[in-house]
């Protein structure tokens, strides 16, 4: 009996040792983490750490992180937090300087991350986790259209300048209108009107382009700083772009945008893309426009050029019991070898050395555009109540750009209701 008990205790101890080497990981769903999944067995073999990998749509990642991670308990050893929600989750995460050194893979020097992306994981003077993808607005324009000699001649005759990759919002409008009115494309522009975070990104892009910020931290509190006149100008311009967008674009999220750009025989002339999705647009099995896209930094507005950032940071919850194993996984993921492999899969990591590697200059033309966009990286405001403000902006922005309400009234509503949220939050 005594022997049996000893054997049982040993078995339990062994089992608990094995389970200590299992990490639960929660990531967002797109081509980038999906590509990584292929490589995970290699990590497991190299370290003996088993990875339970869960990927969900971004809103569900947010919800599940909210429910599953607290100061004293976590269901996950590693979670991804998108840029806007870093303030909300920062108190629950282990600052990067407290991550272990790594037994098999060397701790990643944060300076390997491109500076525009590194900023994403900074909060309260600390680096909270490690930015893992190079996601910010990159512009796509149909190469087959702008290189067509007939269109070039017709466009120049009408507008007096050369057809090409739109460098300004006005050029985007002109060129988009040209192709749309001739019925060459289903849309001269592809807006994003899906989720609140995406619409918020579009609004911030337009407001910045027309010379105004929306919310800034002033004296330690988020403060509405938008210049209403400039805000209305930005919205009015987007309204013009909506008029050359395909039918139904009022509700377009990523799926619809991709379908319109890649699967519609006429397609869309020009629009932004998150680099994380480039893999799908460049897949000849899924896309009619694979290898027919020119990538560039976004068109500039009257106040300059801006590229909205949407990067994810990987974070270890304070309550994780497997912090070292989780860190080991991140060091592997963010290593140069894996980053290079991910680039080959048409995805975009956050490492400067890989993004600027001349080996990929020709075969991955979007990398140069991403590097260019990074010079103009702009962040969406970050504060705890951002979800409420995003909903307000989405509601009235769409009402404004679709003509259900004047842009002036819509802007006023955005300002009034945002102020209410900030007031109720007692900043």
């Amino acid at each position: 009996m005594k022997k049996a008990l000893i054997v049982l205790a040993l078995a339990i101890a062994c089992a608990s040792m094995v389970s200590a080497q299992t990490i639960n990981v929660l990531f967002w769903d797109d081509a980038y983490p999906r590509a990584l999944m292929e490589k995970i067995p290699e990590f497991e073999k190299a370290t003996g750490i088993k990875v339970n990998f869960e990927i969900l749509q971004p809103p569900q990642v947010f919800t599940k992180t909210s429910v599953s991670v607290s100061k004293d308990h976590t269901d996950y050893d590693l979670v991804c937090v998108d840029e806007g929600n870093i303030p909300l989750f920062a108190p629950l995460m282990l600052p990067y300087d407290q991550w272990g050194p790594g037994k098999v893979f060397k701790k990643i020097d944060p300076n390997t991350v491109t500076p525009a992306m590194l900023d994403v994981a900074q909060w309260d003077g600390k680096l909270i986790g490690l930015p893992i993808n190079g996601n910010l607005y990159v512009w796509m324009t149909r190469k087959d259209l702008i290189e067509n000699k007939t269109y070039q001649a017709q466009f120049k005759a009408k507008y007096g300048y050369d057809l090409g990759v739109p460098q300004t919002l006005q050029q985007l409008l002109d060129e988009g209108t040209f192709f749309y009115e001739k019925g060459i494309v289903s849309g001269g522009f592809g807006p994003f009107n899906g989720g609140p975070a995406g619409v918020f990104g579009e609004a911030i892009y337009m407001w910045n382009s027309f010379g105004t910020d929306f919310i800034n931290w002033v004296n330690g509190k988020p403060t509405l700083v938008i210049d209403k006149a400039k805000g209305v100008q930005g919205m009015e311009f987007y309204k013009k772009l909506m008029k050359i967008s395909p039918k139904g674009a009022e509700t377009w999220a990523h799926v619809e945008r991709q379908a319109a750009f890649c699967a519609d025989p006429k397609g869309v002339f020009s629009m932004f893309i998150w680099p994380a999705q480039i893999a799908s647009y460049e897949d000849p099995d899924k896309s009619l426009v694979a290898n027919k896209i020119v990538y560039s930094a976004p068109p500039a507005g009257p106040a300059g050029r801006f590229a909205i950032r949407g990067t994810w940071a990987v974070n270890i919850p304070l309550a994780s019991k497997n912090k070292d194993a989780a860190a080991e996984f991140v060091y592997w993921w963010a290593s140069k070898d894996i980053a290079a492999w991910l680039v080959e899969q048409n995805t975009v990591p956050a490492r400067t050395d890989v993004l600027t590697d001349p080996r990929y200059a020709k075969s991955k033309p979007w990398l140069a555009a991403i590097a260019d966009s990074m010079q103009y990286a702009a962040a969406r405001p970050r504060f705890n109540e951002v979800a409420q403000v995003q909903d307000i902006v989405k509601k009235y922005w769409i009402m404004g750009i679709t003509g259900q309400m004047s842009c002036d009234d819509a802007m006023q509503k955005i300002m009034d209701e945002t102020n209410n949220v900030l007031k109720n939050a007692k900043y």
Partner: protein, 313 residues
């Protein structure tokens, strides 16, 4: 003393005392009561308690603070709350009558035997078995302006492309149509069952007395079917108050907040804004609303029963 008397005394001596006998039914019922409380009552009580706290979801229970009825007061000041309530009630009062009329009409039509009647009746039930989330997704794609079949048909007939889900009014109509499509067979199912239970002798007697179709419908079918109708409506109202997934995948509450039904806004409060207390207050409000609907319809149903009994007497 006879052996029978002895055995009775013996049995009495093993019986429980009066006090213990009083407690016995409760002891036997206790497991059931505990289960009912744990499964049914406790979540509601817990939700009620949570609704009196300011409870940020991501900060766990440690960060909650008692705010009394502040969440309820704040709800009444929130225009989006009233908007979502208005949309929810509109959804119920438009969709359910359509489903009722459609279900009733088809039940009347199919309340006869003909070749293939059973197959037709079974096939009509198919939409009810469709997962709500799949129904929402299917309708979203059917209404897609560029490649959706509905617009393809309209365009081929010479009409314009319509952005069904991009316009606040058509989007609201679309979610109602989706619900009607999925749930009218439920009404049909209940009402058909009710119709088959109506004694044929009554109908035949009315016919002999010279009553036509409309007279029979007005004076016999509808009154006799009223309890079934009320039950069906009650079940649908309770279900429609909780509609979520199909609308979420169709519109996510948009465009703007044109289809932000009560349940969607509750979800936004809890998981978008991280305000668990506010979301619980909304859940309690919805519960009260459901109870009001249920009590009203049950009372109406009971009064119908009383009338029926009186008529029978």
């Amino acid at each position: 003393m006879s052996s029978r008397t002895q055995s009775i005394e013996q049995r009495d001596s093993t019986r429980l005392s009066g006090k213990a006998r009083g407690r016995a039914p409760f002891l036997f019922l206790a497991p059931a009561i505990i289960v009912v409380f744990a499964v049914l009552i406790f979540p509601i009580v817990f939700s009620l308690i949570v609704s009196t706290y300011d409870w940020p979801l991501s900060e766990g229970a440690g960060a909650r603070s008692f705010v009394g009825f502040d969440n309820y007061i704040n709800l009444t000041k929130d225009p989006e709350f009233w908007n979502s309530l208005k949309l929810q009630l509109g959804f119920i009062f438009i969709a359910i009558p359509i489903e009722l009329v459609l279900g009733f009409a088809v039940a009347l039509l199919l309340n006869r035997e003909f070749f293939g009647a059973r197959v037709v009746r079974s096939l009509l039930l198919l939409p009810v078995f469709f997962l709500p989330i799949l129904s929402g997704m299917t309708w979203r794609f059917m209404l897609q302006p560029r490649y959706g079949p509905l617009n393809t048909l309209i365009v081929n007939l010479g009409g314009p492309e319509v952005s069904w889900l991009g316009n606040p009014i058509t989007a609201y109509i679309a979610i109602i149509i989706q619900d009607v499509w999925r749930m009218w067979p439920f009404m049909f199912m209940l009402l058909y069952a009710g119709l088959t239970a109506i004694p044929q002798e009554l109908m035949e007697a009315a016919q002999i007395d010279g009553a036509g179709f409309w007279r029979k419908l007005r004076s016999l079918t509808i009154p006799l079917l009223s309890p079934t109708i009320l039950t069906a409506v009650l079940l649908r109202i309770i279900d429609a108050l909780r509609v979520f997934s199909e609308v979420y995948v169709m519109t996510e509450g948009g465009p703007g907040s044109a289809t932000m039904l009560f349940s969607l806004y509750t979800q936004r409060q809890a998981f978008g804004y991280q305000k668990v207390g506010m979301a619980s207050a909304m859940a309690i409000f919805l519960l009260i609303l459901s109870i009001v609907f249920a009590l009203t319809l049950v009372r109406k149903n009971m009064s119908l029963d009383v009338l029926e009994e009186k008529a029978g007497a």
